[in-house]
């Protein structure tokens, strides 16, 4: 894919290796144009926050990365492979390198915590070279406990999701997302609906997971400005279906742009108060 710098992307940000690239991506649902020529490079081995108002297409963007949605127009690449027209088998291989933490954890209610965490290890089909089917019960149990310990929830493997708090569900979701040692970890609004204590815990978890996992890249969808400025290494601001600004937290803190200022201050008055066209 060619590099195409967005007009407001700070100088120099195009020079790093990208784990994900979007080029002129358009996506429309009915009459709602969500992505309108989005061009974006997500840096490798960093925590990148995707921010913007509700309805700007942040979750749509994540679903394009894992291939749940396909662009109407434009190209999407992951780990140097163009995935726009990828076949199901190619997506299956790519998804083994991606972990996704959904807004509410999206745990399977009919399965125990252990079965949820082990789901991708045991149920993923396809080629045998990935070794998932060859895990013995003891190995699977050990891996589950290791992952649950990593997210601070040891000893809950026999519980069912209905018995967990929302914070615990998210952490179990994170353990599940980490099960296949992903290269890219996606978080869809991990702190939404959390009190400040749990939010901070989740932020710490994101930072710790990133630092403890070699070669990991993280992408976090968020509205939470405290989280953004606390954890982000790179920030992408989406506005009107495109990248409005991309850069490190300092670029946002120092920005005089009224759109950025209004988003960070959370004020009801300003250019962002207009409804999304």
């Amino acid at each position: 894919m060619e590099d195409t710098a967005d007009p407001k992307t700070p100088q120099g940000t195009q020079e790093y290796e990208a784990i994900v690239e979007f080029k002129d991506v358009h996506k429309t649902f009915g009459s709602n144009k969500v992505l309108r020529g989005l061009t974006l490079r997500i840096p490798e081995r960093k925590i990148t926050f995707i921010i913007g108002r509700s309805g700007e297409g942040k979750s749509v963007l994540i679903k394009h990365i894992v291939g749940i949605l396909k662009p109407d127009k434009g190209r999407v690449a992951f780990d140097d492979d163009d995935m726009t027209d990828a076949k199901p088998r190619e997506w299956e291989r790519a998804r083994r390198k991606i972990g996704l933490l959904f807004q509410d954890g999206a745990l399977f209610d009919s399965l125990s915590v252990a079965e949820n965490v082990a789901f991708a290890l045991m149920e993923g089909g396809g080629e045998k070279e990935d070794g998932r089917k060859k895990l013995s019960l003891a190995e699977k149990n050990a891996r589950v406990e290791e992952l649950l310990t990593k997210v601070g929830l040891p000893g809950i493997s026999s519980k069912f999701p209905t018995a967990l708090s929302i914070g615990e569900k998210k952490r179990v979701g994170l353990a599940r997302a980490l099960a296949l040692n992903p290269k890219l970890l996606l978080y869809d609004e991990p702190t939404t609906g959390m009190d400040s204590l749990v939010s901070e815990l989740i932020d710490t978890l994101i930072a710790e997971t990133q630092s403890k996992t070699e070669g990991l890249s993280s992408v976090v969808i968020s509205h939470d400005t405290r989280s953004i400025l606390r954890v982000a290494e790179d920030i992408v601001f989406l506005h009107e279906g495109r990248v409005y600004l991309q850069g490190p937290p300092a670029a946002f803190r120092e920005s005089d742009d009224p759109v950025i200022r209004q988003f960070l201050s959370g004020s009801a008055q300003g250019p962002l108060s207009r409804p999304i066209a």
């Binding site: 291989r93 399977f108 991708a120 149920e123 993923g124 089909g125």
Partner: protein, 261 residues
């Protein structure tokens, strides 16, 4: 006036469009079902679980409804045949009706109401809670994991349940023939043997299998494409039941037509 005409046309056009889109989606889902039916992974554990859910858990309701359906059919037919002093063939007539039509159709209705509705609601809940997206994101195909086991189990269990329904229905009719019409034992059984053929049973079981495919694939389709929270789950479940019942009746007509040709 023109506005009303345009609005009506728009409404009809919209319904036709959504119907065509629905048929297209259903066809694609069925195509995916056959793909995953023939390609690994083959999830035998999940199929076994669904066999238990569709078959074993439907047994009690099939037992009760079949005995009473056979009994009430025996009552009606016994009354009519009594006018011609031909009560002896009430068992055979009931058996024929149960084997060819009532067994598979009633089973189809009962399994739709019990298992089909549950399948639609479960898959719809998974859809609106993003669990199906999560499955896809982990590289597990939802058609392979959720739909293939349910449809396979329904196709296998429906003939078994229909067979049980027919047998117990005849038993219900037999009890009525003995208690209320004093039909001779030997006459009841010989007429039954003479008039209910093996081909009737075979045709009925084939229908049951087709109905199993219809009800489970429609239930899974409605659940899979559910949208919009709890309301969407409710709508998907209702539509699954209504569409399945109608489809069973329509397909029953065509199968019967070709079987009689």
């Amino acid at each position: 006036m023109m506005d009303v005409v345009l609005q009506s046309l728009e409404s009809v056009g919209g319904s036709v469009r959504s119907g065509v889109i629905g048929m297209g989606r259903y066809t694609l889902l069925v195509k995916d079902f056959f793909y995953w039916l023939l390609h690994p992974p083959f999830r035998m554990r999940l199929i076994a679980r669904q066999l238990e859910f569709v078959g074993n858990k439907s047994f009690n309701i099939i037992l009760l409804s079949s005995v009473f359906t056979g009994a009430v059919l025996g009552l009606q037919l016994g009354k009519i045949f009594g006018l011609f002093r031909a009560e002896g063939i009430m068992g055979a007539a009931t058996g024929k009706a149960l084997a060819l039509e009532l067994g598979p159709v009633m089973c189809g209705f009962i399994v739709t109401g019990r298992a089909g509705a549950a399948m639609a609601a479960e898959i719809a809940t998974m859809r609106v809670n993003e669990q199906i997206d999560a499955m896809e994101a982990m590289g597990v195909d939802p058609v392979s994991y959720l739909i293939v086991p349910r449809v396979v189990a329904s196709v296998i269990m429906m003939p078994v349940l229909a067979g049980i329904f027919v047998t117990l229905g005849i038993l219900g009719c037999y009890v009525v023939s003995q208690l209320m019409f004093a039909v001779d034992n030997q006459v009841f059984l010989s007429q039954l043997q003479q008039l209910v053929w093996v081909s009737d049973i075979r045709k009925g079981l084939f229908k049951a299998s087709v109905f199993g495919f219809i009800l489970s694939s429609i239930a899974c389709y409605r659940g899979y494409y559910a949208r919009g929270g709890a309301k969407g789950v409710g709508e998907a479940t209702t539509k699954a039941v209504v569409t399945s019942l109608l489809a069973i009746l329509i397909v029953d007509f065509f199968i019967t037509y070709f079987q009689l040709k």
